[in-house]
């Protein structure tokens, strides 16, 4: 199956009575950044660990670069670059020593594959003798990425690489991923932050061990388009309580500076402007978080 970097068929995994993954199927193509979006506890890390051969699925099967994750796990361990969710470098080794160690773990020399990491590593170069434990969050993350790339993997697994990192470093990190993608290397990345969906070629929304939606961001937004009003009040808490009493309002919830309101089909937005304390009412397109909530809500009911 050429062009298919990851192929997951109906994978399930339970820990005791907790179903971590419940019939997951998805495909990742060569040369794409594929984002797995979902909250903590949705099953993202479990799926990553199954794909990186660290866990065995209870049922279903998966291949990575054509290798079966159970039978051909040694081939996957050679082919994959993996950055686990937690900070996973040696804090007492320097930047340089960490990179050298991870290179030699795969039997390569840093100098042989330096081109793989040069653009990222050059940012770290001024600190190469610094201990990894003393780096800032953003730098640790870049070093961890270098360590995952140094053996020239055929596919990259990044489990929540941007968790706990500030907005500037996050944005830089995504720029780097976009750059790596140009080499054709598929990148499978997970994140709990919905706003990172726009940086992925395709995404899957995951919650409670199930895939809710799959596609490009635009496809998903388009498929789930619905009338949505954004309301801003003098005091959003008062306005929120007032909105929930209005006939025709299905749900109202806070979303940043605004309150997002889903209404019945024939609802007249002007009705809301008349409520005391409401300053602004506008029609907006739902963002990925709104969609997630809508689909999650459907799943619950």
């Amino acid at each position: 199956m050429i062009g298919c970097a990851i192929h997951i068929t109906n994978v399930s995994k339970a820990f005791g009575t907790v179903k971590a993954l419940d019939g997951i199927s998805l495909e990742v193509n060569r040369g794409e950044i594929y984002g797995l979006l979902g909250p903590d506890g949705a099953g993202k890390t479990t799926l990553f660990r199954i794909l990186t051969t660290l866990l065995l699925p209870d049922s279903g099967s998966a291949t990575v670069c054509g290798f079966d994750t159970v039978r051909e796990y040694t081939d996957i361990r050679r082919a994959a670059g993996y950055m686990p969710g937690r900070f996973s470098l040696y804090p007492d080794l320097s930047v340089e020593e960490n990179l050298e160690f991870f290179a030699s773990l795969f039997g390569v020399k840093v100098s042989d594959n330096f081109d793989m990491v040069a653009p990222i590593y050059n940012q770290l170069a001024p600190f190469k003798t610094r201990k990894a434990g003393k780096l800032s969050g953003g730098m640790k993350q870049k070093l961890a990425l270098c360590c995952a790339l140094i053996h020239r993997p055929e596919i990259l697994f990044l489990d929540e690489p941007t968790t706990g990192v500030d907005a500037v470093s996050r944005s830089e990190f995504w720029d780097i991923l976009t750059h790596i993608r140009q080499s054709g290397m598929p990148i499978f990345v997970s994140t709990p932050y919905m706003d990172e969906a726009s940086r992925c070629d395709r995404i899957s929304l995951i919650n409670s061990g199930r895939i809710l939606e799959t596609g490009t961001l635009d496809e998903i937004l388009h498929r789930n388009s619905m009338p949505l009003l954004a309301v801003k009040g003098e005091n959003n808490y008062h306005t929120l309580l007032a909105l929930r009493k209005v006939e025709g309002v299905k749900t109202a919830f806070l979303s940043g500076e605004y309150i997002h309101v889903f209404t019945e089909e024939a609802f007249e937005p002007a009705t809301l402007s008349a409520i005391e304390g409401v300053r602004e009412v506008k029609v907006i397109a739902p963002d990925i978080e709104d969609v997630f909530i809508k689909i999650m809500g459907n799943g619950n009911s």
Binding site: P39, D40, G41, A42, A167, S169, M194, L254, G256
Partner: protein, 246 residues
Amino acid sequence: MATADVIAANRLTKRFGDFTAVDAITFNVARGEIFGFLGANGAGKSTAMRMLCGLSTPTSGSGTVAGYDIATQSELVKRHIGYMSQKFSLYGQLTVRQNIALFAGIYGLKSKEIKERCQALAESLDFTKEMDMPVAILPLGQQQKLSFSVATIHNPDIVFLDEPTGGVDPITRRQFWEMIYKKAEEGTTVFVTTHYMDEAEYCGRVSIMVDGRIQALGTPSELKQEYHARNMDEVFRRLARKAQRQ
């Protein structure tokens, strides 16, 4: 209206050796306000917050929290604040009820009050059978809501939230912010540190720290307008990129 300010920081400074972690920051937070305290890693947020909680003495400058001086009356400050962080967790082995009773007891509530609060919390969190379940087996989102309730069980003047909603699902997150709004409505000041900018959009006012100084302060709309940005993320990136510190 200086007396209405729950937090007043005046040229608050903290130096470690030659390194100035927090450099003469001045700001006020009013009663019932939701104040976002943003900054990149290492910008000085945590140091500043530690001073405001009375855990660390300022090198120079002064500040009051809930009307008490943070340098000389830190014990009183601690009694009038609440604190919650994503990392700070409740005791997983204890049940919800035991956790509530424990923290209420720490804050000196009487056993009759504790019983009442338990009842009230069970209702507001919509917990029924959960009350006697160990906290560890609750979903993460519920743990965080409980954690917030426990941090405010003694009705503090101000509650400090350190990256409160990282990683929770969007529905829980919005419910969580609704709880925060409700608490603020009841008069508790909410002080939130985060580096997730979508969280900043929920705040009444936000400050952005860069290299130990407050570089911007205003409502999210004001800041977006001032920096011609679509969202807080852009505002933040524009400011934080100028950082010199590594």
